[in-house]
């Protein structure tokens, strides 16, 4: 029995289908990298699986439960880390984590110790008393990561988790994802940073214009597309290969005028 089961998932905004029939099943302990060009429907898919959007066609189940009917039970057992630092930034991280922790029904003492410990590990402890509107994007992203994982979820969904982080933090998050995988968590994430996806994913799903165009391990994608790196595979599959080089040439030509 797979952990996440998606059958014929379609979603429309104003008459236009942004997801056009997605099928996927994900087993426990997998790390799935979900990539695609902007507007391909990555965030929308993640929002539907995490039980945030319930207007869609098709069937989606998590832990064998229907996301439409058991959204609350599912939300309790998963962590969702959204794109673009969406948090209440007039709060301090301690206050914010207390807020989130209580929404997950954690006890006060657990929240207290966990947030301090986790902030310390992310080197934010000395700024823990400052309001987050003074934080950089990377610092907010760290708080967001903590807030999505402090209730120790079984599945973690991350939407562009590395955006805005500095080089060290990227390595740290990569390592955290790796360790999470070791401890048996299931991770589903989207990213633009191809070499990270290449290194830590068991399975890579490429989506374009609302449909899955490739699905498999990095090695199998390599043999499929006869290309070296994930970046090459990605551009050849999404049809950007030829176009990118001709656009670049034109760019140079215009500069010369």
């Amino acid at each position: 029995m797979s952990l996440i089961q998606i059958r014929g998932l379609k979603k429309q905004y104003g008459g236009k289908y942004v997801l056009q029939g997605i099928n996927m099943s994900i087993d426990a302990g997998q790390v799935v990298g979900y990539i695609g060009p902007n507007g391909a429907g990555k965030s929308t898919t993640i929002k539907i699986i995490a039980g945030i959007t319930d207007e869609f066609e098709g069937d989606v189940s998590v832990f064998g439960m229907d996301v439409r009917k058991n959204a609350l039970d599912i939300k309790q057992r998963i962590g969702y880390i959204p794109e673009q630092a969406a948090l209440y930034d007039v709060l301090t991280p301690i206050e914010y984590l207390r807020f989130i922790g209580k929404l997950y029904g954690l006890a006060d003492e657990v929240i207290g110790t966990k947030s301090w410990e986790l902030l310390r590990l992310f080197e934010l402890a000395d700024k823990a008393g400052n309001r987050m509107n003074t934080y950089s994007k990377g610092m907010k992203q760290k708080v967001l990561l903590i807030s999505g994982m402090m209730h120790n979820p079984e599945i973690i969904f991350l939407d562009e988790p590395l955006s805005g982080l500095d080089a060290n933090a990227v390595i740290l998050v990569k390592e955290i994802l790796f360790q999470l995988k070791q401890s048996g968590k299931t991770i589903f994430y989207s990213s633009h940073i191809m070499d990270v996806v290449e290194k830590i994913s068991d399975r890579i799903v490429i989506i374009d214009k609302g449909t899955v165009i490739a699905d498999g391990s990095f090695e199998s994608l390599q043999t499929q597309a006869h290309k070296g790196t994930l970046e090459n595979i990605f551009t050849s599959l999404t049809g950007g290969d030829q176009q990118n080089s001709s656009t670049a040439k034109e760019f140079i030509d215009v500069l010369k005028n």
Binding site: G14, N38, G39, I52, L72, P82, Y88, L91, I100, L103
Partner: protein, 555 residues
């Protein structure tokens, strides 16, 4: 106060709680939202405080209760009860609606909830109730702040029963204000997109700021109302006005007079707001949040498909800059200033009130005698008050000098340093020209037109002389202050901190110029003869700014 209200409300709710509501989660959501309300900088006082205040909300509330004093003074003045009650309820309705309009997105309909709370295991009833609690806390504390003085005055003036009835009617007026706000937003949403809404909100904020600035000048003058006799008559349209219902209801209990008119009004007062709120929750709100949600999504979906705008026509900024500026560098400063001042919300919020404050200044300077507006008006043409019209514009317009260097996007100013600019002063002179042409000249022309109407052609030479003097003053101020590129500084940090001596010198020079003009009035040909000198001064100062070297410019 907010925490106290919250605690009472929560205790109350706990009794009536249903099985499917999670009290702990409700409590933490409501607490967090109340805490955030405290920290949100109120937009209407933004320009006054640069530093982060510990509790800006409390400051706002104290301000509100202070204004309430004026309303209380009107009640204690002994004007007829219906009239004073209409004033009280209109005031509450107006203030509440204005506050709600500006805080709408954080109080009545918070779309960030969808991103932050929706992914968490919170059921919709709990979230809904938490929102209701939060809104109630918000409304209650504002109602208390606004009404504490007027209600106290009512108790004092009219006794226990009337005071109590007033107290009871207040929540209905607040409910009505909530409905009005919702309706306004629903209308705006029907015809406009989200960006428009943000613009409209910022205009409301500007309006609020002006209202406060003007209110403090005008309200105290209005307290002396005894002279004007108030006649209160019911017209057919009175049945449509919410404050009238409330006022007549109060009157009915005060006089213990329950005829048919009073009974109809009482029914309106207590039934209509409840019906409207019911209608709002049932029909308006759901379609509303759906629409807002759709707005967020559609902006996402439409990203790729905007139409290419082919630009051939020169816009206004380009046309003016080609007329007013000599070099390309100067045009850069001109066009950037022209366009950003039109689009940057923070600039507008800080500057437009001072523009509007001009009217208040006219009111204060020209119509300073409290006795009679009409008398002053009739006697106006025999005074020399037109000098006020000549020189007031520059006082409010020069405020832009201290605002224009600052912008949230200040880092974009790297371009000045990386581009090969040899005459940085040209950028600044372009900026000054843009400010003058955009803000000073239109205002001055209007004032000139007004003065021509009152005083006739003889003031024309004064206005021409004054025109150059105004520009001279403006350029003097620009010369005296630190030189910054437009929109190149981080707000809050370097805001012109009182260079006192410099300010005094500046004031003295301005005083001398205006004094000279006043003295010159006694010799009829003199103002006209002085025009060339003033114009030459402008030219010289302008050249000076254009030639500013890099060294003199603070980056």
């Amino acid at each position: 106060m907010d925490k106290l209200i919250l605690r009472i409300l929560l205790r109350f709710i706990r009794i009536f709680i249903k099985k499917d509501v999670d009290f702990e989660r409700l409590k933490i959501i409501a607490e967090t939202k109340v805490l955030m309300d405290r920290r949100r900088t109120p937009s209407n006082f933004k320009q006054k405080q640069r530093k982060e205040m510990k509790n800006p909300l409390l400051f706002t509330l104290i301000m509100y209760s202070f204004i309430g004093l004026f309303v209380a003074a009107i009640i204690l003045n002994g004007i007829p009860l219906p009239v004073s009650m209409i004033i009280v309820h209109s005031y509450l309705l107006f203030m509440m609606a204005m506050t709600l309009v500006t805080d709408f997105s954080s109080v009545l309909l918070d779309t960030t909830d969808n991103q932050i709370i929706l992914p968490k295991p919170v059921n919709s009833r709990t979230l809904f109730l938490a929102r209701v609690v939060h809104i109630l806390v918000y409304l209650l504390q504002f109602t208390i702040a606004l009404m504490i003085c007027p209600v106290a005055a009512t108790f004092l003036q009219y006794g226990l029963l009337t005071g109590t009835v007033t107290l009871i009617t207040l929540p209905f007026t607040v409910a009505f204000a909530v409905f009005l706000t919702y309706l306004l937003y629903a209308l705006i949403l029907r015809f406009a997109n989200e960006q428009k809404i943000k613009d409209i909100i910022s205009y409301f904020q500007i309006f609020m700021t002006v209202f406060f600035a003007a209110g403090f000048q005008i309200f105290p003058r209005m307290i002396d109302l005894k002279a004007i006799s108030f006649q209160f008559k019911l017209h057919w349209y009175s049945y449509l006005l919410e404050p009238v219902w409330m006022s007549v209801t109060t009157e009915a209990f005060h006089d213990l007079n329950f005829n048919s008119v009073h009974l109809i009004m009482i029914a309106c007062a207590f039934v209509v707001p409840v019906l409207l709120i019911f209608f709002m929750i049932r029909f308006l709100a759901p379609s509303f949040s759906k629409k807002l949600g759709a707005l967020n999504n559609s902006s996402e979906a439409d990203k790729g498909s905007f139409t290419a705008v082919t630009k051939q026509k020169k816009d206004l900024a380009e046309r003016f800059s080609s007329m007013a500026c000599g070099t390309q560098t100067e045009r850069v400063g001109f066009e950037k200033t022209w366009k950003v001042t039109a689009r940057d919300k923070n600039f507008k919020i800080q500057f437009y009130p001072s523009l509007a404050y001009l009217l208040v200044l006219v009111f204060v300077f020209v119509f300073k005698n409290p006795q009679s507006f009409i008398e002053t008006w009739n006697g106006l043409s025999s005074t020399k008050s037109f000098l006020a019209f000549v020189y007031l514009p520059i006082f409010s317009i020069s405020a832009c000098l201290s605002i224009v260097p600052f912008n949230d996007n200040f880092t974009a100013a790297w371009i000045y340093q990386s581009a090969p600019i040899t005459d940085p002063g040209q950028v600044i002179s372009g900026m000054l020209k843009a400010l003058l042409i955009k803000f000073f000249i239109p205002v001055y022309v209007i004032f000139f037109g007004f003065a021509l109407y009152i005083w006739g052609v003889p003031v024309a030479d004064d206005f021409i002389f004054g025109f150059f003097n105004n520009i001279l003053i403006f350029l003097l101020m620009a010369n005296f202050s630190d030189h910054y590129f437009p929109f190149s500084q981080q707000p809050n940090i370097k805001m012109q901190t009182g260079k006192f001596v410099r300010m005094i010198i500046q004031l003295v020079i301005v005083g001398i110029l205006i004094g000279a003009h006043y003295a010159a009035l006694f010799i009829s040909w003199l103002p006209a003869a002085l025009i060339p000198f003033s114009a030459a001064g402008c030219y010289f100062l302008q050249r000076r700014i254009q030639r500013l070297p890099w060294l003199k410019i603070s980056i």
